[in-house]
């Protein structure tokens, strides 16, 4: 199957080093290497290609964060890890959608128990999407100020000039008000 599509499978250590160095080409190799495996799992277990994409990307994010945190041990193969995470995510999704017929799902690979890890990821994910929602509700200019300051680490001076505040203190006050609103929106959800 992989020969047919001319997919190059990167070695596990290449992927880990590549991700730690923010390499785009390695991320692409990784993505292309294992997508067919996950597509096969999902479409043969009651899912479609869009759901396969969702599940696969979520698993890649889990792996990406794990590698970035520095706690991916090479004790298991990346392939097995990705398959296991996707399998777990898909089982949960099937149950949520009430499409789970019970019994075993059709498997194509070996898999590991990853329940706890997936659980932790999902908790984190929930927080992150709550933050996303809060930022969307925040409105301008607050959203840009928050992004500039907390995401892009721009200085108060920069922000001051960008938004035409007369002095840095005004900008600071504005930033503080925005942060308070963001906090409120975040906790309201």
């Amino acid at each position: 199957m992989n020969n047919q599509l001319n997919v190059e499978i990167p070695s596990d250590s290449e992927v880990i080093i590549g991700i730690l160095n923010n390499s785009d080409s390695v991320l692409k190799k990784l993505y292309l290497a294992y997508f067919p495996m996950v597509l096969q799992l999902i479409v043969n277990n009651n899912g479609d290609e869009d759901e396969a994409k969702d599940i696969y990307q979520e698993a890649i994010i889990v792996l990406y964060n794990k590698i970035k945190r520095g706690d991916f041990e090479l004790s298991s193969k990346l392939k097995t890890y990705i398959y296991s995470v996707c399998r777990r995510l898909w089982l949960k999704r099937l149950k949520q959608l009430n499409r789970y017929a019970g019994g075993d799902i059709k498997d194509f690979e070996e898999f590991l128990p990853v329940e706890e890890e997936v659980e932790r990821h999902e908790e984190r994910d929930l927080q992150i999407s709550k933050m996303g929602e809060a930022l969307k509700l925040l409105g301008e200019p607050c959203k840009t100020i928050m992004e500039d300051f907390y995401m892009h680490n721009r200085s108060m001076q920069d922000i001051c000039e960008r938004f035409g505040y007369t002095n840095a203190d005004n900008a600071k006050t504005q930033k503080y008000k925005c942060l308070q609103r963001l906090k409120k929106l975040f906790f309201q959800q």
Partner: protein, 368 residues
């Protein structure tokens, strides 16, 4: 000291950003120590700002992943990866109306034939069990011998050493337990098994279960060495229709491979302890293993129906396991620890067979 919250946030940010002087740092750390609410505020602020960062990173990563994803031709890939139903299922889907008509005609024809020959009224359609009965050959030999006697007038008879029945068996474990069909060994005085290299070993029948047509043999020959753990697993659950299966057996002197598919969930006359399989089997295949694609034992070949050519039957592995469980422990001198994981799952069929052939035996039954 009462501090306004915006001042506190500024202090926290300067502290976290490492922008404080040594003196300021010391003061702030003292403040954190004295006032737990300051510490809590700092933790909350850290969490919140880190979430803003993570959200940003997540959005960026998702954009990168989506860009990669857009380069994949998902549609073609999906076509390739769908588990295609076996050709039997496909044929049925495409041609079921034609097949139904053909089947009705065939049934009518069979009924008519049976009616004409009188088989319908008085006799059961016999179910031919697959042990090779060498009796006929023996009789012919005797006749030949008689003729020879008449010619040469010399009378000397050698003991008949031909195997009366022949079948197939396969190892349950590496330590000499072998399973075959009850009907293969039934009525025999001594039972030998012969491995792929042609060496024979004497065995003892340690257990028979006529209901499931299962017999367990134990090699009790001192020349027999442990053959190592079996490469196949014994499947507990039932297998699905359409699954590709195969067998290995001794219809003749050489081991023969027979590929096929699982065609029915029940066997001869709706017997639920058996599968119906579409597989080429001949006399002598009885007692052979029925394996699935992954190298799991799913049954034991045990018979062939004479009327419907191609249909054979196999006792489901579940009932084999049941039979094994009911062996009284005092009949066993060694333990039977069944392998639960096939080591052949990822091997090609030819490699599987290569491994398998050391664990499949010809069963020879003598009756003097």
């Amino acid at each position: 000291m009462i501090m306004r919250e915006n001042q506190l946030i500024e202090l926290i940010e300067r502290y976290l950003g490492g922008e404080m002087t040594a003196q300021e740092r010391e003061d702030f750390e003292a403040l954190r120590k004295n006032d737990a609410s300051v510490d809590a505020k700092m933790a909350e602020h850290k969490d919140l700002t880190s979430l803003i960062k993570q959200y940003n990173e997540r959005v960026k990563l998702e954009t990168r992943l989506n860009a990669i994803h857009d380069e994949i031709d998902v549609h073609t890939l999906k076509e390739d990866l769908m588990a295609h139903p076996s050709w039997i299922v496909q044929m049925w889907r495409n041609h079921h109306s034609k097949i139904s008509v053909a089947a009705s005609v065939a049934i009518l024809a069979i009924l008519l034939t049976l009616f004409v020959t009188g088989d319908l009224s008085n006799k059961d359609p016999r179910f031919q069990q697959l042990k090779a009965d060498v009796e006929g050959v023996k009789r012919q030999q005797r006749q030949l011998g008689e003729q020879q006697k008449n010619i040469y007038k010399t009378v000397k008879t050698a003991p008949v050493t031909n195997a009366k029945f022949r079948g197939t068996g396969f190892a349950l474990t590496g330590n000499g337990y072998i399973v075959t069909n009850f009907h293969v060994v039934n009525g025999g005085d001594s039972v030998y098994v012969q491995n792929a290299e042609g060496t024979s070993f004497h065995t003892k029948v340690v257990y028979t279960d006529p209901a499931y047509d299962v017999a367990i043999l134990q090699v009790n020959d001192t020349s027999f060495k442990n053959i190592g753990p079996v490469p196949y697993a014994f499947k507990k659950s039932k297998s699905d229709l359409g699954e590709l299966v195969y067998t290995l057996g001794f219809p003749g002197d050489d081991v023969k491979y027979g590929p096929g598919a699982l065609t029915g969930a029940s066997g001869y006359r709706g017997d639920t302890t058996e599968y119906e399989v579409y597989i080429p089997v001949n006399p002598g295949n009885s007692g052979g293993p029925l394996l699935d694609d992954k190298g799991n034992i799913i049954g034991v070949i045990n018979g062939k129906q004479t009327q419907t050519s191609g249909a054979a039957f196999a006792v489901k592995s579940r009932y084999l396991l049941k039979a094994i469980q009911s062996i009284p422990s005092d009949s066993l001198t060694k333990s039977i620890n069944l392998n639960t994981k096939s080591t052949m799952a990822n091997l090609s069929r030819t490699k599987q067979i290569e491994k398998l052939r050391n664990y499949v035996f010809m069963v020879k039954v003598y009756n003097q």
